[in-house]
Amino acid sequence: MRTGPTLALFVASGATLGLAANALSPHPALVGRPVVSVAEAGGGACAAPGPLPATAAPRISVAEAAALCQACQAAFVDARSATEFARGHVANAVHLPPAGHPDEAAALDALRGHPLVVVYDGDYSCAVADDVAARLRRAGLGDVRVLAGAWPAWAAAGAPAAAGACGVCGVAEAHP
């Protein structure tokens, strides 16, 4: 088998396979949306340059959100899994994953008492946080924003955090 054509075949078939596999991945890299490094994004690729998708919630920086957190002027919603929440979360955050909350009405009532709700997840694209933010807006909450840089940027900045299972369900595995 000749090496040159074989190499070309490997690269071409690999490129096709890779793009198809990416499209089928549960968390695909969004082709067409630039991805900048964490350092260049100032805390996370949620802050990637370029227009946000139409469904995306407005972003809030870690510095601004941390100041509001310390002044108790914002409520925080953690949209990650219960296990990730138990490992570490924004201090006093409400655990509200996309699958729902055991006492959704009580959680929403608690959030309504705040002028601003900040939603975050652990994923660079903030897709999960955007979904939860949209749900909160549909539930009638006014100012809902998504944390730029997600949980990794919050943790890296040393902003207020706590660990432990969700207070409502008690154990980490009680809800997804």
């Binding site: 074989t6 890779g18 596999a21 991945s25 890299a29 067409g32 490094s37 964490v38 690729a45 660079y124």
Partner: protein, 143 residues
């Protein structure tokens, strides 16, 4: 002969595993690629996807012994590129996860050494040929 085949298949398994481990979270892998700060941001998602696909094809080709010399050569070229990318990041003081096998393991000079060892193995496989696991076919009996 069997040693060459074992080397080829071990290398194939490493590449196949490297590709498979990234598939569940390609978005995170794209971010790890961006952290190397070698590519324009717009090119990162496509590059990440293509890289995983090429890794998978190289892995399968080495495991199956199809175009094995070319696959080993391509593996060597990829590993050399990975080594250079890792080394430049470490020299520039960029603190990043390697992204080699989909996880968040930190890049270090140990990672560079591992990639160099794999590069040497790939070069050897390309130079020595694919080898065979089974016995050599019997020569036709002399008439």
């Amino acid at each position: 002969m069997r040693a060459r085949a074992a080397l080829r298949m071990a290398l194939g398994a490493v590449f196949a595993w490297a590709a498979l481990s990234k598939l569940p979270d390609m978005a995170a892998f794209a971010e790890l690629v961006a952290n190397y700060r070698l590519l324009p941001p717009a090119a990162v998602p496509v590059f990440a996807a293509v890289l995983v696909g090429v890794e998978a094809v190289v892995g399968v080709a080495l495991l199956a012994g199809l175009g094995a010399r070319a696959a080993a050569g391509l593996a060597a070229a990829l590993l050399l590129a990975f080594t250079v990318a890792l080394a430049q990041a470490l020299v520039r003081g960029i603190d990043l996860a390697c992204g080699c096998f989909g996880g968040g393991d930190s890049a270090s000079w140990w990672t560079v050494a591992r990639d160099l060892a794999l590069f040497a193995a790939a070069l050897a496989s390309a130079a020595l040929g694919p080898g065979r696991l089974g016995p050599r076919p019997a020569a036709p009996a002399a008439g």
